[in-house]
């Protein structure tokens, strides 16, 4: 008893002992929460299911966004530039521009058409259509310009395209550069719309997840208020009183995340045959991109984070006046 009387009434143990006590308390809480949850599996399952449904929508939208980008590649939605040279441009002058373009790995020169080739093509076309092969006889072939067609990758935005055009126009003998970028603007607008919708839905559904967790945990706290009161007057810190509910929030998050993955897997398994047929029609292997281990881990972590926020909110709201309960 003497040693108990000598100890300081108000000072917490030194940090090493505190760390050990803290770890032991976490182990105790984790074990108790898991045990309690296993006893009330059906109500926990319901919360997981609601959380899973809520989270699966923005997660699904994200996957749709990723796969839309893939689809752009499949249907050949790539942009381009048509560079028209002045008449009389030499082959070496064209090659010097071609070399400059090929230094940029994003750009690909699809075709270089000399003025002679352009003229031959024109003659051939006229001959096919009019059955008069000599219609353009006597006209100088240099009347037509040499053309270079450059392909741009998907996602090449308008600002970069305009800069590129200015740089190309500074090359000697370049007459004009025609940009084919209207689709890029439309696509960028569409992608921006999908992205904003995804962000907005993530925020709203994330908020809904937090509220669902918070309400579930509020009920759990109200059901255990007598027990918490006892913990409090036995000297548990506020963090210790809250800790089981933070764990509960995290477990709700893990369960909700797994449920969301299950729902997404189910939906994808239903739509995959149709997507595969579509992909194969473009000569591509029908795989849905993005639904992988990294995505699953991030989704579960996000759910755990939302669960912890919900639990913290509930604990802050329900456990403010524990002292008043001591009687």
């Amino acid at each position: 008893m003497k040693e108990d009387l000598d100890r300081d009434l108000f000072v917490a143990p030194k940090w090493r002992r505190r760390l050990v006590y803290w770890l032991r308390d976490h182990i105790r809480v984790a074990s108790e929460v898991s045990k309690n949850m296993s006893l009330e599996l059906s109500s926990s399952f319901l919360t997981w299911f609601i959380l899973g449904l809520t989270v699966s929508f923005p997660a699904g939208l994200y996957l749709a966004h990723l796969n839309t980008e893939k689809a752009e590649g499949l249907v050949g939605l790539t942009g381009g530039l048509a560079i028209y040279f002045q008449t009389g441009t030499t082959e070496s002058e064209i090659i010097s521009l071609q070399d400059w373009i090929t230094q940029n790995p994003e750009l690909e020169v699809k075709e270089v058409r000399s003025s002679e080739k352009s003229f031959e093509d024109l003659l051939s076309t006229i001959s096919d259509q009019t059955r008069e092969p000599n219609l353009l006889e006597g006209i100088d072939h240099t009347v037509l310009p040499a053309i270079m067609l450059v392909e741009l990758p998907a996602g090449y935005n308008e600002r970069r395209l305009i800069t590129l055009r200015s740089e190309i126009e500074e090359f000697p003998r370049v007459d004009s550069v025609v940009m084919q970028y209207e689709w890029l603007e439309r696509l960028a607008a569409l992608q921006s719309l999908i992205e904003k919708f995804w962000l907005l839905s993530s925020f709203l559904f994330g908020l809904a997840s937090v509220l669902v967790t918070s309400i579930s945990i509020s009920f759990a706290i109200q059901g255990q208020l007598e027990e918490l009161k006892v913990f409090h007057f036995l000297g548990a810190t506020k963090r210790q009183v809250r800790r089981p509910f933070i764990y509960l929030g995290a477990i709700f998050g893990i369960g909700g995340g797994l449920m969301a993955l299950f729902i997404l897997a189910l939906v994808l398994s239903i739509i995959e045959p149709s997507l595969s047929s579509l992909d194969l029609s473009y000569g591509q292997e029908g795989l849905i991109v993005g639904f992988d281990l990294f995505f699953s881990s991030v989704l579960i972590l996000c759910c755990v984070f939302l669960g912890i926020i919900g639990a913290t909110l509930a604990a802050s709201r329900e456990l403010i006046n524990l002292d008043e309960l001591v009687s």
Partner: protein, 226 residues
């Protein structure tokens, strides 16, 4: 009697929001190794006084000093540490009915983060002290109200606190059980702790040796001869 008080009330008053003054200018000292009975009729301010010592309430005026510190000015971090040194027994033992007797008594030690081997040893010791050895695996609803009160007492002393406060611990008990509980509290004070017991049962208090602080309309009369 030891000279340095473990707890001192210095001109303590407590006024509630309604304007009712529960305690008025109370001064008293509680020493190590002594038992003090706080008596008075219902509403005299006994529970308020214990709540002030426990740190569950703050005095409107005056100070509650424990080991040279003003309990009313403890920080959020200090208050739980202080409470770990103060055992509390209420009229209602406040046991957790879904936990066994062992688990109920072990709670304070688990909150402290004690080793399981140490927890087991001390829980058995505390239960043995209140004559409930061998009942560890029962649930509170399987015990009589007197036994439940003793479990509450075992839980409050399992940490070997240097201050033990008991608010009407015999309020729900028959005379025989009341004497058992008072005997246990008296025994505990002999280990060196300051024990403060609030009771309206003047006859029971008179049967035990200790100081008496009698409250009447918020004012105190101290009697060392009880």
């Amino acid at each position: 009697m030891p000279q340095t008080p473990l707890i001192s009330l210095v001109r303590v008053s407590k006024k509630f929001g309604s304007g009712q003054e529960a305690l008025s200018e109370i001064s008293a000292e509680f020493h190590e190794g002594t038992i003090t009975y706080v008596t008075g009729h219902s509403g005299a301010g006994k529970t308020t006084l214990l709540r002030l010592i426990f740190g569950a309430d703050k005095a409107s005026r005056g100070k509650v000093i424990a080991a040279d510190r003003d309990v009313g000015k403890l920080t959020i971090a200090e208050l739980p540490m202080y409470r770990r040194n103060v055992g509390v027994v209420f009229q209602n033992p406040n046991l957790i009915f879904r936990r066994t007797i062992f688990e109920n008594v072990a709670l304070p030690l688990l909150i402290d983060g004690e080793k399981l081997s140490q927890v087991e040893k001390r829980v058995r010791g505390a239960l043995s002290r209140v004559h409930l050895a061998g009942r560890e695996n029962l649930f509170p609803y399987q015990l009589s109200i007197g036994e439940q009160q003793r479990v509450g007492l075992a839980r409050s002393i399992v940490r070997r606190p240097i201050i033990l406060i008991a608010d009407e611990p015999t309020g729900n008990l028959d005379p025989a059980l009341s004497r058992t509980v008072f005997g246990l509290l008296s025994e505990y004070s002999a280990t060196g702790a300051a024990v403060v017991v609030a009771s309206h049962d003047i006859n029971l208090v008179a049967a035990y040796k200790g100081r008496e602080v009698s409250l009447n309309q918020g004012r105190a009369v101290i009697n060392d001869e009880s």
